[in-house]
Symmetry: C2
Subunit: 338 residues, 2 copies
DNA sequence: GTGGAGAACTAAAGCGCTATAGTCAACGGC
DNA sequence: GCCGTTGACTATAGCGCTTTAGTTCTCCAC
């Protein structure tokens, strides 16, 4: 049953010392090719696997990388995006024999706490930081703990952590370009919490674009919950001069917004165009399907994992990887106003 | 920096042996209360944490429990439910200083593979098995590996693993009761893959209920994807004698079904009532909001975690916990037909 | 006053693996 | 023919913790 073979068992069977077996199995010099082959064969035969804990104890790696999502339980449901990221990461990380540990916590304070615990217990080899904030407190903590980390979302300026990012400003411009071409004059933006860097970037990009083109534009902050997304939509649509197009920072809020429009008897897209900043199954199942920015989230997760592995291998690295700007996928929720 | 204090450091500082420190910190007898207090204080002062790997190596636990989701990448998006479960589990598991390791894999074969890896590497102390199948191959594997496990969803018959479950048949009856009271005569059921035990149970419960009441009822199997949910809905609604109510086995498919109805110009709920077997943010944001079976998924996750911890503590235990049958939450998607 | 029980410790081994220092034989060059 | 190398190993220590088997010391009973 649970009697896994150890390196010593293999050594005995092959007739060499445990050290030799370790060399052989780790591709280190110190054994002849012949012996190495024999050892590897026996190891396979005996169905040997390294004991993670034993390796980790020897000062080596824990074989786990962490991804923490700080979410108010009330805003649960917005993790579609991260489920995909997780999947993409896992593909890369498991190939290296490690695992991704995802954990949901209540807020950033709890997240930082968790990092300290993990670091103290040697539980993880590296971290992915998501939902970057302005002046993000996590950066200093991660540095202090000496944990390799990669940020997802913003160019690596903050504390010079390596990062994987896409250009949010450019993405917003793509949307505004399109809406302006359709002749929308009043555009609203149901944004996330202003403390998030990506929200800030999108908001300022929208403002710039609107000014440049002489459009009326407005960003409404929310906490990313469906409730606040719906509430913001209701407010916007209750105005005398209501917007003809609304851009939502998440697919969940976009879907909620669509629900509100239906509820208020406002036709989508005839009277209101809707664009979501995220793509997911959600944007496809509602009717009309939502026009949105889409990208290969799975690949993004894989890229993050790759960058993280690089950061773990070389803790000095600060390389920042820019990924493709999400492209606009036009579906049934947008048209000319009128 | 990464120079965590060890038990030996504490021992030196207090002036006792490492063994004594271990006793003290683990609440084991062998030290005086006075010394124990002193040791605990110093440990806190030095910010000591147990080194997980070292503990695990000593034959103790890995401090991780696993939850694997087998999902065809195409059907990704249906994990809302499990995100909640995960959250609930984490609350309980982290309280005990452990962590939940969730992993997404392609199919059951990959899942079994993963279990073997995890067992061989001593990575997890226990498992939660979800999406139970008829004659589930995982049960034998888990038993063979000697890994404590709890199943979620079905009474623990299969191989007598402890389980946490709710009565699916009763739940289905609740729905049919309600629809029958509204005077629906033709009810359809967009189900999951028949290989799943819960699908099988719901399907047969529907058949029984329909027979007993003289209703026309039909279950259509799908793979749980939004695409097949939509396709099944299209087929059902294209019939001459179309159903006046459809029950969906997941919130995702229900939302997709609603989208199809809108697309076909069929009014919900006037011409079609929709009931979802799962609740989530999704059922609330669409319009009309969906009538559904609802339960406290978070609490369910917590219960699963509790049962799993019990199973780990006492591997012989087979206790099965029955949870409340989900209750019907009526929203805007159901009414009398006509 | 002595034997023994119990409390409060210490000493040391061991978990499975890695890493470093050493051993030993074969080989080659001058 | 001897020294120095090199290759192929072995021996051993050590990672941080738990645990078992001692070792003291005190206290009490007879």
């Amino acid at each position: 049953m649970g009697n896994r073979p150890t390196i010593a068992d293999i050594a005995k069977r092959v007739g060499v010392s445990p050290g030799a077996v370790s060399f052989a199995l780790n591709g280190r010099p110190g054994v002849s090719e012949q012996t190495r082959a024999r050892i590897i064969e026996v190891a396979r035969e005996m169905n040997w696997r390294p004991h993670r804990a034993a390796r980790a104890l020897g000062g080596a790696q824990a074989g786990v990388v962490g991804l923490v999502l700080a979410r108010d339980p009330r805003t649960l449901g917005s993790e579609q995006f991260y489920t995909q990221i997780l999947y993409g990461m896992q593909e890369v990380i498991s190939a290296g024999g490690s695992a991704v540990q995802m954990q949901l916590v209540r807020d950033t304070a709890a997240e930082i706490d968790l990092y300290r615990h993990w670091a103290a217990e040697h539980r993880v080899d590296g971290l992915v930081l998501v939902d970057l904030q302005l002046d993000d407190p996590r950066i200093a903590v991660v540095r202090e703990l000496g944990l390799p980390a990669v940020t997802l979302g913003l160019p690596g300026e903050p504390g010079r952590l390596p990062s994987v990012w896409a250009d949010d400003a450019e993405a917003m411009t793509t949307i505004v370009d399109y809406l302006a071409a359709l002749d929308h004059q009043r555009i609203a933006h149901v944004a996330g919490p202003p403390v998030y860097q990506h929200t800030a970037r999108r908001t300022s990009a929208l403002r710039e674009q609107a000014t440049a083109r002489g459009l009326a534009a407005e960003s409404v902050p929310t906490d990313f919950s469906d409730a606040q997304g719906a509430a913001a939509t209701r407010t916007l649509l209750s105005r005398a001069e209501r917007p003809t197009a609304i851009i939502y920072d998440s697919d969940l809020m976009a879907a909620a917004g669509l629900g509100v429009a239906l509820e208020m008897g406002i036709e989508v897209p005839r009277q209101l165009s809707i664009v979501s900043f995220d793509d997911s199954v959600l944007t496809r199942i509602v009717h009309p399907a939502l026009t949105c920015l889409s990208r290969d989230t799975y690949a993004l997760g894989a890229q993050v994992a790759t960058s993280l592995l690089a950061a773990i291998a070389d803790p000095g690295s600060r390389e920042s990887v820019r990924t493709e700007t999400p492209r606009l996928v036009v579906r049934g929720s947008t048209t000319r106003p009128g």
